[in-house]
Amino acid sequence: MIAGISLYEILTITSILFFVGVYGFITRKNLISVLISIELILNASVVNFVAINKYLYPNALQGVVFSIFIIAVAAAETVLAVSIIINLYRQISSVEVKDTEIMKY
């Protein structure tokens, strides 16, 4: 328990974080920025897990463990994404989203 801060305030913050991430994912022009936006979305959910675990089930640990899993998966995913972006850069010399539409119709 953190004094003076209720669950609703934390959930509000994470919601803002989540939608900022979504907004960034949709609008950013650079693939790296898109990747960072994905990280924001993931972090929002991690904070949610921890907070809900802490406030609603203080004696359980599943939420905390899950957040560690998510961080690990996010790290792996970032590695994968960055390697894809590097390969893409070697092919088309660009990391702009608008240059990646060669697979359309």
Binding site: F25, K98, Y105
Partner: protein, 639 residues
């Protein structure tokens, strides 16, 4: 007696066909000729062995020839109605085996000389084998459907062989014509088969032909337009037979079929395939005779008699020797049909049936001989037309003698084969129907006349100057001529009535001297007239044809039947019926289908921009979808 070996008789030509057909590029022409002749030789030996065994060793039981069948069920419809495949051995099928084997073997040997140097030599021999296989199958068929299958197969091989010179447009047209006309007739055959299957629940010849069987006894069970259903079925089947046997009015294909090589004309269009129609009626003879007191049989008799007269009249005026022979074939086939039509069933009553089969047998020999002789002449002078021939007796002695023997045989001069069989036919007609008898005897005179017209025209008559002196054909061609000439002399002495009769019991046939004398007299008058007209060059024939005036012109153009058929098909059927239907099909049936396809393509073009390739667009669509769904669930569905 185990008859399983008879299945080999058709199977050997089939395997020869497959070998020659598949390996046609690898086999040298000379070798393929030997393979074809050898395969058929084995089949011929087996056929003769079967015939000997059947007629003299085991076929008879208490004086009646038995029917032997071996078959397996091929397609099963109901308990009683099924299609079998197998072989049926009875007097007429064995007799047909002999005819097909003998003629086919002679034609194979002859073709080795006649077709020498031809590009399609191997192809020709493979098709000959295919034809022989199909004909054997037709002859040995145990039921209506099997006979129908092989019936179509002989049609196909006839089509292939008529169109052997496929670079020649007239040959292609003739092949198509033969195929289409006979297919049209076979439609009747098929409907007849289906009706019989529906009303009698069997296709099997033995069951159908049993005079005490339910099929024949219950003929009156259904009627349509005043006739029994079975009579209609038999008439429809006869239409199929008439198409194959070139009976009026389905005769138009036979004279055009002469575009094929001459050995083909001898084998298919004189001796074997065209008698399939006669064979079919003979095969179902008890049905024809007993159903509705032989109404369908009377139809057969009159169609046969009319065709025989009609063709004989046309044959007198034709100038292409092969076409004269073609019309002569048609006329003789009419003879066989009318003999069947006037036949009875028991004992001596069945003389017409016996005479028909006898005439089929003898006719096969001498007509094949005539065609092969004509082929020998054509081979020597490179023309089909009488005007290019004359005085050939000095150059081609063997062909001359053999052709003369065949002509005497067909003219009915004793003791040659045609005399005996024709005499029996006339006896049968005389006892049954005087009108048919007089038609028959008139046709006999005409036959003698036109046959000696071409004989004198080819071998005597004017002395034609040839660019290259014609010479006698090689031994491979004259050998079959001599064999067939020998057969044309002796086969008449076979006591046919002891072997092949309607009730299979055998009877004593006697020569009816007054009738025989009349027939011979008419024949000799015909020969004499031809002698006067054509032996020496003179203008008697021209004066006569002018005296007949427009009748001669009509006859020369075969009574304009080709033109009538062309008018009906091209002007009426194609323009008034087929053309509008084709238009409707193109515009509406095809149009609907194509319209659906085109619309799909059009819509796809419009909406393909949705797949932009930008993943952020997809993500936006996903998120907005989630938002919209969330709003719907929260505010409208009150979750």
């Amino acid at each position: 007696m185990n008859l399983s070996f008879t299945i080999l008789i058709p199977l050997i030509p089939l395997s020869v066909f497959l070998i020659l057909g598949i390996l046609s590029q690898e086999i040298k022409p000379a070798v393929s000729g030997y393979i074809g002749v050898f395969g058929l030789f084995v089949s011929t030996i087996l056929s003769y062995f079967t015939a000997y065994q059947y007629f003299f060793v085991f076929g008879k039981l208490e004086g009646v020839y038995q029917t032997f069948t071996q078959k397996t069920v091929w397609m099963n419809f109901t308990d009683t109605l099924h299609i079998d495949m197998g072989v049926l051995i009875d007097p007429i099928s064995v007799m047909m085996l002999i005819v097909v084997s003998t003629i086919s073997l002679m034609v194979h040997i002859y073709s080795r000389g006649y077709m020498k140097g031809d590009d399609g030599y191997t192809r020709f021999f493979s098709y000959l084998s295919l034809f022989t296989f199909s004909m054997y199958g037709l002859v040995l068929a145990t039921n209506l459907f099997q006979i129908y299958i092989f019936w179509e197969l002989v049609g196909v091989s006839s089509f292939l062989l008529i169109g052997h010179y496929y670079t020649k447009p007239s040959a292609v047209a003739a092949a198509k014509k033969a195929f289409i006309v006979t297919r049209f007739a076979d439609l009747g055959f098929l409907i007849g088969i289906l009706i019989i299957g529906f009303y009698t629940s069997t296709y099997d010849f033995e069951t159908l032909n049993n005079p005490e069987g339910s099929a024949i006894l219950n003929w009156a069970s259904g009627s349509f337009m005043g006739l029994s259903i079975l009579t209609w079925a038999l008439i429809l089947i006869f239409i199929g037979g008439a198409g194959k046997s070139a009976m009026f009015p389905l005769h138009i294909w036979l004279s055009d079929a002469m575009e094929g090589p001459t050995p083909v004309s001898a084998l298919i269009h004189a001796a074997t395939m065209v008698v399939a129609g006669v064979y079919l009626v003979a095969r179902l003879f008890p049905m024809y005779y007993f159903v509705e007191d032989g109404f369908a049989l009377n139809v057969v008799a009159f169609v046969g008699a009319f065709s025989s007269l009609f063709a004989a009249v046309i044959a007198v005026t034709q100038t292409d020797i092969k076409r004269v022979l073609a019309f002569s074939t048609m006329s003789q086939l009419g003879y066989m049909m009318l003999a069947l039509g006037v036949s009875g069933y028991d004992g001596h009553e069945g003389v017409g049936y016996m005479a028909s089969m006898f005439h089929l047998f003898t006719h096969a020999m001498f007509k094949a001989l005539l065609f092969l002789g004509a082929g020998s002449v054509i081979h020597a002078v490179h023309s089909n037309f009488l005007k290019d021939m004359g005085g050939l007796r000095k150059y081609m002695p063997i062909t001359n003698i053999t052709f003369l023997i065949a002509a005497l045989a067909i003219a009915g001069v004793p003791p040659f084969a045609g005399f005996w069989s024709k005499d029996e036919i006339l006896v049968a007609a005389f006892e049954h129907n005087k009108l048919i008898y007089f038609i028959g005897i008139f046709v006999a005179g005409l036959t003698a006349f036109y046959m000696f017209r071409i004989y004198f025209g080819i071998f005597w008559g004017k002395e034609t100057k040839y660019k290259h002196a014609p010479h006698e054909s090689p031994v491979s061609m004259t050998f079959p001529l001599m064999v067939l000439a020998f057969l044309s002399i002796v086969v008449g002495f076979i006591p046919f009535s002891e072997f092949i009769t309607a009730d299979k019991a055998g009877f004593e046939a006697h020569l009816n001297y007054p009738l025989a004398a009349a027939a011979v007299g008419v024949g000799l008058i015909g020969v004499g007239l031809a002698y006067l007209f054509y032996k020496k060059e003179n203008d008697l024939a021209e004066r006569f044809s002018e005296a007949f005036g427009s009748f001669y012109v009509w006859t020369f153009h075969k009574f304009y039947f080709d033109e009538i058929y062309l008018f009906i098909t091209k002007k009426i059927l194609f323009q008034r019926v087929s053309w509008p239907i084709a238009k409707f099909d193109k515009k509406y049936v095809d149009g609907t289908m194509e319209g659906i396809g085109n619309k799909t393509v059009f819509i796809s073009h419009k909406i393909k921009g949705l797949q932009s390739g930008k993943f952020q667009d997809y993500a936006f669509a996903l998120v907005s979808g989630v938002v919209v769904l969330a709003l719907v669930f929260i505010y409208f569905l009150n979750y």
